[in-house]
């Protein structure tokens, strides 16, 4: 795997732990909000979306595929955070730290899942005039 693909994955895998570290800052500190918010909104979902794909987002991905990946990242991130929070509340074990630990661990696992490489989908699949949905699918 090339470094330009490894580094973003490592950064994504570390994002939850950085967010956890940020919770040691004073309550509502701008840096804390600035680190935790993007993590909760995007990172678990993005890691899940990348795990669904065989490779990192390729350059020249059709616009609708980019839109779909972005939407899925956000909504999956929110859905995963919701399910983790509900699980902890139902178990009477809710704390922000526990919630972030679960999500950080999930993000790390999904971001670091080994992926088999495959050739990028050919643009030939994309029909004229349309965006097309290349870039997702099994290995």
């Amino acid at each position: 795997m090339t470094p330009h693909r490894t580094l973003p994955r490592l950064a994504l895998a570390a994002s939850g732990w950085v967010a956890l570290l940020a919770t040691t800052l004073p309550e509502a500190a701008p840096l804390r909000v600035a680190v935790v918010t993007p993590f909760l909104l995007v990172c678990p979902g993005l890691a899940a979306v990348l795990a669904m794909r065989a490779a990192a987002p390729a350059h020249g991905m059709p616009r609708y595929a980019v839109l779909e990946a972005a939407l899925l990242s956000l909504m999956l991130g929110l859905a995963l955070a919701t399910l983790v929070a509900v699980g902890l509340f139902l178990g009477g074990a809710f704390t922000a730290t526990r919630g972030l630990v679960v999500l950080a661990a999930l993000t790390s696992v999904l971001a670091l899942l080994p992926r088999r490489h495959r050739a990028r989908e050919r643009d030939g699949e994309v029909q004229p005039g349309g965006g097309g949905g290349g870039g997702r699918g099994g290995p």
């Binding site: 919770t23 935790v36 779909e68 919701t82 509340f89 139902l90 005039g129 097309g132």
Partner: protein, 613 residues
């Protein structure tokens, strides 16, 4: 598909010339054509910033205190409406020019969302909608109790579908923010902007005609008057619902988008299906109605045999997860309401009627507003049905099934009288596209004039929307004084106190809802309401019996409650004034908070004269 002229797969990347809709043999001189195209090209680029500038400028001094029957409609200046008309014109121009970059179309739609949904947030000093305040209170209570809130009474339903609240609780605890009130105010604008993504994906799965895709999007936002986009579980669940729907349409055999994996002929990639199940699970734990809407939509979409390999796995997941949740965590709510469910089944007509505002005693403006709401909804339905009849290719798309999917739910549950509105909301994404298919027929050649012909209709739809969406703002907007009055009560009322109001329109009064008993005088039996109107002091005192120093009662009267009484006709407009003057000199009542827009009385039952001290 019935051929290139009437097919969903219209190719907008057709050869570029001739561009401007002139027929062969009648083409104008090249210079005139070029000049017209250049004018249109620069108009599209100029109108967006101009209309947004006018919109922001128009908000600098809006006399909000003058809102009455028609809410914001009667106080927004002419410049605001000019900005809205210009924005619509610019969008139609952009739609009529196939060379318009997608970024401009996106800009116009985001501009419309900002104009419609950010205007109240920019104008109001406090959070809009009493329900949004209520949901803030639920988040706060769940954080204080570490989950389920005891003695929740009418708020118990939130214990059973806590997903949205607990997501916010996690966010607040992780960031250390004190309250969600800051970002809750911007929820309508952001939720609608987020909705753009699944709408685009859904429509793009049905056609490659860019005019249809963006026209459908514009029509959706121009007709979405129901106002279920604030800080609420249903907003979150609807976004998830639309995401699932968009992903599902992408996988259908009829999708106009290329297969994500060319080697997979049909069905889901397993990892993506797992992702969809996670989304469905988040819907199931967040809102009682949306899973039923999802199941209804999936059942409808599974009717054509060709869809089943895609739809049935998601349907099975939705049914199993919903049944599991309803049989365990939500069992208490389901078991109590099962009888109502059955009763509603027997009387389906009542459900349909319950969503139509009872306008008997309502303010004149509200009667007009109700008529416009109904008219707009009816227009959407009629045009969608016409599209189904005239544009035969739409029948293959699954959108007609999605549009009718909410209808069976109308027969099952009145859902607090709002089921008709909710059904409209869930049908609208599909219906809006059908309307676009009717108004913007795909052509092998481009007709800018024909596209521009929809401008008056787009304006009319927008005009209808603002009645429904802005018409009740006299109730939805709160002054800082009303917020302060509620804060005073929740800060001072000991546990066990009673809090008496006319209606529910007091912002923040539900804080510590599990510790207080709320009484809304407008929603008591007709006998009690009549007594309140005839003998205000006796009417309110009947609910205050047994108030003590340890557990007193608080009576909160405020501007938004008065407006609610006036607009809906639930109580005579002068009820509040009579009640105030009756309590002023009555024994046991103490004025503890007074503001231009809110008054709070504390009540303790006086000891009998000559009684033991």
């Amino acid at each position: 598909m019935t051929g290139a002229r009437d097919g969903p797969y219209e190719d907008t990347a057709a050869p570029p010339a001739p561009r401007d809709g002139w027929t062969h043999g009648t083409a104008p001189p090249a210079s005139a054509s070029t000049r017209a195209a250049t004018v249109r090209h620069w108009s599209i680029r100029a109108v967006l910033p101009l209309s947004l500038g006018l919109w922001l400028f128009s908000l600098r001094s809006v006399p909000l205190d003058r809102m009455r029957d028609l809410g914001l409609l009667q106080v927004l200046p002419a410049l605001f409406w000019l900005a809205a008309a210009l924005l619509t014109l610019g969008f139609c121009l952009a739609l009529s020019d196939r060379r318009t970059h997608g970024a401009w179309l996106t800009g116009y739609v985001l501009g419309l969302i900002a104009l419609l949904h950010a205007t109240p947030t920019l104008l109001y000093p406090t959070l809009r909608y009493s329900w949004a305040w209520k949901h803030l209170a639920v988040v706060d209570a769940m954080l204080r109790h570490g989950g389920e809130v005891p003695n929740a009474d009418k708020f118990a339903v939130y214990n059973d579908w806590p997903g949205f609240f607990q997501l916010n609780a996690l966010f607040l605890r992780a960031t250390g923010l004190d309250s969600a009130v800051g970002y809750a105010a911007w929820t309508p604008a952001f939720a609608n902007a987020l909705l753009l993504a699944p709408l685009l994906l859904l429509y793009r799965s049905v056609t490659r005609d860019r005019r249809l895709v963006w026209g459908g999007v514009w029509i959706f936002y121009s007709c979405s008057w129901v106002g279920q986009d604030y800080f609420a579980p249903q907003t979150f669940a609807f976004l998830l619902f639309m995401t699932v729907t968009a992903l599902l349409f992408r996988q259908l055999p009829t999708s106009a988008l290329p297969r994500p994996d060319p080697r997979r002929r049909d069905g889901w990639p397993p990892a993506l299906l797992a992702g969809v199940v996670v989304l469905v699970a988040a819907i199931v734990v967040s809102h009682p109605l949306t899973p039923l809407m999802l199941i209804s939509a999936l059942v409808a979409l599974s009717l054509p045999r060709r869809n089943r390999r895609v739809v049935l796995p998601v349907l099975a997941a939705a049914v199993v997860l919903t049944a599991l949740w309803d049989a365990t965590v939500a069992r208490s709510y389901i078991s109590v309401h099962i009888q109502n469910l059955v009763q509603s089944l027997v009387q389906p007509d009542e459900n349909v009627a319950s969503g139509l505002a009872a306008t008997g005693n309502a303010a004149p403006g509200q009667i007009l507003l109700s008529a416009v709401d109904r008219g707009l909804s009816a227009v959407v339905v009629v045009l969608a049905v016409a599209a189904f009849v005239v544009r035969r290719w739409t029948r293959r798309t699954g959108l007609p099934l999605l549009a009718v999917a909410p209808l069976p739910l109308l027969a099952v549950n009145a859902y607090g009288g709002e089921m008709l509105f909710r059904a409209y909301l869930f049908a609208l994404p599909a219906a809006a596209f059908l309307v676009a298919a009717l108004l913007l027929p795909p052509t092998t050649r481009h007709h800018p004039v024909r596209t521009l012909a929809v401008y008056p209709l787009f304006l009319a739809l927008l005009g209808g929307l603002v009645f429904g969406y802005y018409g009740k703002e006299a109730v939805n907007r709160f002054t800082p004084g009303e917020v302060a009055a509620a804060r005073y009560v929740t800060d001072h009322a000991p546990p066990g106190s009673r809090i008496v109001t006319l209606t529910s329109d007091v912002p923040g009064l539900d804080r510590y809802y599990e510790q207080h008993r709320r009484i809304q005088l407008a929603h008591q039996s007709p006998k009690d309401t009549e007594r309140l109107v005839r003998h205000p002091l006796a009417g309110v005192s009947a609910f205050l019996y047994g108030s003590t120093e340890e557990q007193p009662s608080y009576i909160v009267l405020s501007r938004a409650q008065d407006m609610n009484g006036y607009l809906t006709g639930a109580l005579p407009a002068d009820t509040s004034r009579h009640l105030r003057s009756a309590m002023a000199n009555a024994p046991g009542f103490t004025l503890v908070y007074a503001d231009e827009n809110a008054t709070v009385y504390r009540y303790v039952t006086p000891r009998p004269v000559g009684g033991t001290p």
